[in-house]
Amino acid sequence: MLAKTLGFSLALTLVFTLVTYLLPQVEGEAPVEPKVDLGSLTMDDFVALGENLFNNKGTCTLCHKPPPLGRAPDIAGMDMLATSSKRLADERYKGKAKDAEGYIRESLVDPSKYVVATWGKKGTNDSVSPMPAVDKAPIQLSVMEMDAIIAYLQAKDGNEVTVSLPSPEAAAEVAAAAPAQGAAAAPVLAATPEEALQKYTCTACHSMTSKDALVGPGLLDVGARLSADQIRQSIIDPNAVISEGFPAAMPADFAAKMTVKELEMIVNYLAEKKQ
């Protein structure tokens, strides 16, 4: 009797398990911060970055889908330049934007400035948008990432892209501003060399994928040129030895900012770049 009932129960359990294997096996990865080499970034790359953010990290397509599946207007299917002009002229518009770029940016950070009829939060008579502000958690897009999305939304219908490409200085500002988001928060420690390089905006001035000089020399083959100790010294005290033909532009305060772990991760990573 026990064997029969146990066998029945186990068989039923296995049937349920089998059903899960008949379905698509999809993993929900945590969002990956796109690695952008600002030195070689073109507008096409920037638009492509915007499209990527629109579909992935920005999670825009969760709601902005074609009817009947969408829970928000189908942005991909509408010309955002023409749509923005109409909405700016609408008396229900409560924002301060003057053009399409401003309107889209405002919609990203404060979506309730204009709520498209029938898409408002239930019970608010279309005065409150259900859309989260994308610069806040859980989405947390940076200013540069929002610019990229605006560029994509302008470019996808052949309209002129009015946002400018991010400059290294702007990227540095973004990086500097990021910890201020949570004033009381502890700084985020980089877990990988790539994260550390991004955190300290090394790639704003140094290319990691070529030997070409940007503001500073390209680092594709830095491991062949310098020893680990020399690389460490170049980071801690960049003005001790300056490569010929380059200005003394590298910040001298990395020793104070980086943790020992982060510094060693970057040094080891660069020391292995010998191509």
């Binding site: 009797m1 009932t5 146990l6 029945f8 129960s9 186990l10 039923l12 359990t13 296995l14 349920f16 398990t17 059903v19 899960t20 294997y21 379905l23 698509p24 096996q25 999809v26 993993e27 929900g28 990865e29 945590a30 969002p31 999670t59 969760l62 709601c63 009817p67 009947p68 599946l69 969408g70 829970r71 029938t118 898409w119 939060k121 239930k122 259900p130 859309m131 989260p132 806040k136 958690a137 859980p138 989405i139 988001q181 949570g182 004033a183 009381a184 928060a185 502890a186 700084p187 985020v188 420690l189 980089a190 877990a191 990988t192 772990k261």
Partner: protein, 636 residues
């Protein structure tokens, strides 16, 4: 008389001692309070210098007033943001930390659900027995308690192991949770003393407090056992709902509210209700399996009758609690959407959407098994022949609805298959894949399941009221109108208007289903008052019907595991949604196949532990016969 006097004197002495101890304790507290009130010190220079250190007051002088400015500064709570652990901050023990916590948490929840639910319906059954005077209810209630008693220890063992695993594997998260919930953890721990006290006095006092006024004392103990258990549940629910939808903290996770504001997040009450109802359904299903096993293990007609009745009662509890569960689920999902549309879509329309196909299979299994058991149970009564022709139609509706429910929306196809199909959606079956079709299906399944239940309940009765025909006609009309309404609302608002109306119409569909259930109960209770009763034979039920009672707990257990996976996964890569990121190596949503493996592991583990629990329960009733050799003088 003398003895009485002595006893009274003894009681008085005891009271006096308690009083003196209370006065002493009160005195201690009072003296501390008066000290606390007197700590302000004078403004003289010496006193002012020493006051901040020890609040010392110079004898004979006025107390120093406290420096108001420094006090208010020191009293401003420091806002500490949620930690931001990096990958290296998570201990690596060589196996997936998430898998370890997953198994322990799920086992703790399974047994927790069981031991919270069983005393709840045991109390109701005991009360029924007391009110009706039928001692069979009392015996059955006692037996239910007996078989679940070991479950309390197992719950505690898994709970303790889970807490230790969390502290070892997720120290930053647990540090943060400790900081946020503070002393609430100690209240939670303290409640276990209360629950244990009521549990043991309730169970072991069963026979000592069986009749008269003592029975009321016993019932009160049962009530207090349930009250402490429910409080434990809602406190621990607040941790889970805080992680899903934090409240009482600012946007970086620093505590800015009091403990009540932290606990009472937007999802707390929906989860409380959902778990409360689901626990009853789950508990009923598990004890039903016990009854089925005992039924199949014996050929004694008396015992078979007893366990048949016990199995029927368990199934009744499980299905009755299960019927309103989807509505509690609706409320929970509506609150999730209201809190964060993004979170709602992640669950229902994003990566986790496929999981609802598995959910459909599980709920379909539960409903089919529940219905099959009711149909089989009709063989107990001779009057059931009147209703048996209807069973095939109910079965037909159930199967069609089940198939609709499991129809996927998007198919995973190769390029050639897409070309052949003309797209990723089938032109006829595609529309069956979206929510409106599934809402129609699930509501119709609930309506016809209630019909099965109603027919079963009627099968041993003949109405004697003069308005029986009119009552039946009214009931049929209510069924027809409700079913047409459910289909119309689903089709019209689901396919011909936008999504907002689609969601709104599902509430009206649920309303139709509830109208059928409530009207059915009211009309039948009036119509069959003083009805003629036909003979009913407990124990006269085919053996195969008992397998439905095994299918129910297996499907319920699996379903709980699956819903746990989705509840936790909607947080995506956050430990505490929007305020504390998960940077562990497991910060992704695993595939449905991986989740299926994990759920199967915990279901099988649960099955084994439940068998152990049943075995221990029966062990207490087993008595080893004295060896014959001993009887003969100990010579072997």
């Amino acid at each position: 008389m003398n003895n009485d006097t002595v006893q009274i004197t003894g009681r008085n002495q005891l009271l006096l001692r308690i009083f003196l101890v209370a006065v002493f304790l009160f005195g201690l507290v009072g003296s501390n309070l008066s000290y606390a009130a007197d700590v302000g010190v004078s403004s003289s220079s010496v006193a002012a210098r020493i006051a901040p250190v020890g609040r010392v007051q110079i004898e004979g002088q006025e107390p120093i007033p406290e420096n108001v400015a420094s006090k208010s500064e020191s009293e401003v709570p420091e806002l500490i943001a949620a930690p931001r652990p990096s990958r290296g901050d998570y201990p690596d023990i060589g196996v997936s930390s998430r898998a370890v916590v997953w198994i322990l948490a799920q086992m703790h929840l399974f047994f927790g659900a069981l031991v919270l639910a069983v005393p709840l319906f045991v109390l109701v059954i005991e009360l029924m027995g007391f009110k009706t005077g039928d001692e069979r209810y009392d015996d059955m209630a006692h037996e239910f308690m007996k078989i679940s008693l070991t479950g309390f220890s197992i719950t505690a063992i898994f709970g303790g192991s889970l807490a230790l695993a969390l502290f070892v594997l997720y120290p930053d998260l647990m540090g943060y949770m400790m900081r946020v919930f503070g002393a609430q953890w100690l209240v939670y721990a303290g409640l276990f003393f209360l629950e244990s006290f009521f549990l043991y006095t309730y169970y072991y006092g069963w026979k000592a407090m069986r009749y008269g006024n003592l029975k009321w004392v016993h019932l009160t103990l049962g009530l207090l056992l349930n009250a402490s258990g429910m409080t434990i549940m809602v406190l621990s629910n607040s941790w889970a709902t805080f992680m899903m939808a934090p409240s009482g903290v600012n946007e970086v996770g620093a505590v800015v509210g009091n403990i009540w504001e932290i606990m009472k997040g937007p999802l707390w009450n929906p989860i409380n209700l959902h778990r409360f109802i689901a626990n009853i359904a789950f508990g009923g299903a598990v004890v039903g399996a016990y009854a089925a096993f005992k039924f199949l293990s014996t050929s004694d007609p008396e015992k078979r009758a007893h366990y048949d009745w016990m199995g029927y009662t368990s199934n009744f509890i499980a299905i009755l609690a299960f019927l309103p569960l989807p509505f509690a689920g609706y409320w929970l999902m509506a609150e999730i959407y209201a809190y964060s549309q993004q979170m709602g879509i992640t669950a229902m329309g994003g990566i986790l959407a496929w999981l609802f196909i598995v959910q459909a299979v599980l709920i379909g299994t539960i409903l089919l098994a529940g219905n099959f058991y009711l149909w089989s149970g009709m063989s107990r009564t001779e009057g059931s022949v009147r209703y048996q022709p209807l069973i095939k139609y109910i079965a037909f509706v159930l199967v069609i609805c089940f198939l609709t429910w499991v129809t996927p929306h998007t198919l995973i196809l190769s390029a050639s298959e897409i070309a052949e199909l003309g797209g990723s959606h089938h032109h006829i079956l595609g529309p069956l894949g979206i929510m409106p079709a599934k809402n129609i299906a699930v509501n119709l399944m609930l309506v016809v399941t209630f019909l099965s239940f109603q027919l079963y309940r009627r099968s041993d009765k003949v109405a004697t009221v003069p308005w029986a025909k009119a009552g039946n006609a009214l009931l049929v009309a209510i069924y027809v109108v409700a079913m047409v309404n459910i289909i119309f609302l689903g089709v019209y608002y689901g396919y011909f208007t936008n999504t907002v109306y689609k969601v709104g119409s599902s509430v009206a569909q649920v309303g139709s289903t509830l109208v059928v259930i409530i009207a059915g109960i009211v009309i039948d209770s009036l119509m069959f008052k003083n009805a003629k009763t036909l003979p009913s034979h407990w124990g006269k039920i085919p053996d195969r019907s008992q397998y439905a009672l095994f299918a129910l707990p297996i499907a319920f257990t699996w379903l709980m595991g699956l819903m746990g996976y989705v509840r936790s996964s909607v947080k995506t890569h956050w430990h505490v949604y929007t305020v504390m990121k998960d940077n562990s190596p497991d910060n992704f949503i695993p595939t449905i196949g991986y989740a299926g493996n994990m759920i199967t592991i915990v279901t099988v583990l649960f099955l084994l532990f439940v068998l152990f629990m049943f075995w221990v329960a029966n062990l207490s009733a087993t008595k080893q016969p004295k060896p014959v050799a001993a009887l003969e003088g100990g010579e072997a």
